[in-house]
Amino acid sequence: MSDESVAEEVQTRRKFLSRLSLGLSGLAAAVVSVPIIAYLLSPLLRPALQVWRDVGTVDSFRVGATVEVAIEEPSPLPWAGQTALTAVWLRRAGAREFIAFAVNCTHLGCPVNWRAEAQLFLCPCHGGVYYADGTVAGGPPQRLLRYDVRIADGDRVEVLTRPLTFT
């Protein structure tokens, strides 16, 4: 074999080895990435659970009054502490009629405050104001988001959990 063809063979061999090494490394990285990415995204891959949570008897709420109730998240982690709970504004609109509002302002999610005497929800962040029925009275937001609420077993008020969303 001539020197030239040897040199050419070495070049081909080097190109092959370099591509092989890079390809194998890339493959290894891809294989390892699969479980890592799936693990990190697992909160998104789990189906959104929704559970009815008991918040008390019908008569523990006064007609026309809006009060804060706490509901437990569908499946909180053991170390979730207080974040296992979510606050909900519950309004008894009639004898058997309840409305449940998210406490999160639809502008940027800040916690809205119910002012009973003013009959208004006030947001401390950017001045969103809502009427008792959750419609907007002023400021940047849309109407307050609601939770599903039902009366079960004749006199138990139940609120359906849902993911925290803003629109």
Partner: protein
């Protein structure tokens, strides 16, 4: 002894590899060129104090707050360590921003240092990422609601909004998985990325050299720049260490002294109330480095808000990325680039003004105001006294000031009687207007006339 040192030097290659590196020729630069190295030192201090804090901090919602309270008040000098980390964070944000502004002003992003600028842009972004994830780890009410407010903004992104909030929360809502996610991001992921980017950034500083201080009338010309720079270094260059490096040391020490003094004298801020989704009496505010943006979101007209929340950060990013390609050559001196001075001034003044506005937050109702000052109710009786009491209880005081007490969202009503007739007052209270709720369905006729009597008498 000498033998050992020689052996070490030979094996480590200090004299042959490292010494030439730290003595590489640099232009004779001024104090403004020390901002970058000071940012680097600030980062190192954050890493060291952060590692120390991680020895005690517990990243779970049920104990994070308590462990930080222990660090601040229970551990030996824990308050100082946390204080350095807290004030050091502010220092790092200020320094990285000042460094970016300085590089922009002297046109050091131009050829051949485009990638220096791009890697610096990413470092700037990730520094803000550290600031955001860091303030959440305090796990107080501000931290809890900052996650929610952050997610509410991410939720505005078209198509992927819901997906982004899921990533931020690590679940359906803020919960047990959220804090560990921010913890891992803050202490492992972003620092690792920053270390990598710093390596690239510093390598590029050596590869392309420290940019020479700009001279008006001497533009960057791509074909000749490298040759001219090499010539300049050959003629006027000084070894980085110690001719230029001493300034870096002195400046970093000065900043470090300020941070240490603040940490010892003022200490870290108190944590305030623990994060609790059930305590809705919260008044969430981000730290100052995000307060300007929080203020901006209050001032943006609602009609363009959706677009603004997505497009504003995007636009800033795009501007940073395209800058070195739009202006890769030409004049570097700020004197010949007055628009550069204008942009930095505009940005600096805007951010400072917005931070100030954010602390005032005149757009927020005053949630704490409960009663009018005595001067506003003195000598009142009958319907007018009743009107004053209604003003306090019906939420009027949350948005309107009388005698310097109350919210500033709506107009000051200290002299409203001189401005509006009783009919106008009645109409406005019943119907509301712009940002004022209508009280037509919640005020009785008697209450309404009492309120109008009271307000009409304010002159």
């Amino acid at each position: 002894m000498r033998g050992v040192l020689c052996w070490l030097d030979d094996r480590l290659g200090f004299s042959t590899v490292i010494k030439p590196l730290i003595e590489h020729p640099v232009p004779d630069t001024g104090w403004d060129y020390t901002l970058g190295s000071a940012t680097l030192i600030a980062f190192v201090v954050q890493v060291v104090t952060g590692v120390a804090l991680a020895f005690t901090y517990v990243p779970t919602p049920d104990h994070a707050y308590e462990s930080l309270e222990f660090i601040t008040h229970g551990a030996v000098l824990g308050g100082v360590v946390r204080g350095i980390h807290f004030w050091g964070a502010s220092a790092m944000v200020l320094l990285v921003a000042a460094h970016a502004a300085q590089v922009f002003l002297v046109g050091a992003f131009k050829f051949p240092r485009e990638v220096n600028w791009l890697s610096g842009t990413l470092l700037l972004v990730f520094t803000f990422g550290m600031a955001f994830t860091g303030q959440l780890l305090r796990w107080n009410q501000d931290a809890y609601w900052a996650v929610v407010v952050g997610a509410a903004q991410a939720a505005r992104a078209p198509l992927i909004g819901e997906w982004l909030t899921g990533i931020l929360f690590a679940g359906q809502s803020v919960g047990g998985a959220t804090l560990t996610r921010f913890y891992a991001t803050h202490v492992f992921m972003i620092p690792a990325i920053i270390f990598g980017l710093l390596g690239l950034h510093l390598y590029l500083v050596v590869r392309h050299g420290v940019s020479e201080p700009p001279v008006p009338g001497v533009p960057v010309v791509k074909n000749t720049y490298r040759e001219r720079y090499a010539e300049l270094m050959h003629e006027e260059g000084v070894p980085f260490w110690p001719d230029a490096g001493w300034k870096d040391v002195v400046f970093a020490l000065a900043i470090g002294t300020i941070v240490l003094l603040l940490a010892v004298v003022l200490g870290p801020p108190e944590l305030g109330a623990k994060a609790d989704p059930l305590v809705v009496m919260a008044d969430p505010r981000p730290d100052w480095y995000f307060l300007w943006y929080f203020a901006l979101l209050a001032l943006v007209p609602p009609q363009i808000e959706d677009a603004f929340i997505i497009l504003f950060p995007l636009l800033l990013g795009v501007l940073f990325v395209v800058l070195p390609f739009v202006a890769p050559a030409g004049e570097r001196s700020p004197i010949r680039r007055p628009w550069a001075i204008g942009i930095v001034l505009l940005f600096g003044v805007s951010v400072a003004t917005l931070v100030g506005a954010g602390y005032q937050a005149t757009w927020s109702p005053d949630m704490e105001a409960t009663s009018l000052p005595e001067s506003a109710t003195a000598g009142l009786s009958g319907a007018r006294l009743q009107g004053a009491q209604l003003f306090e209880t019906r939420g009027c005081l949350q948005c309107h000031q009388i005698a310097a007490v109350g919210g500033r969202r709506g107009p000051d009503l200290s002299k409203v009687g001189a401005r509006l007739s009783p009919d106008q007052l009645t109409w406005r209270i019943l119907n509301g207007g712009r940002n004022m709720p209508a009280y037509g369905t919640t005020l009785s006729p008697g209450d309404l006339s009492a309120l109008v009597d009271y307000l009409g008498g304010l002159r």
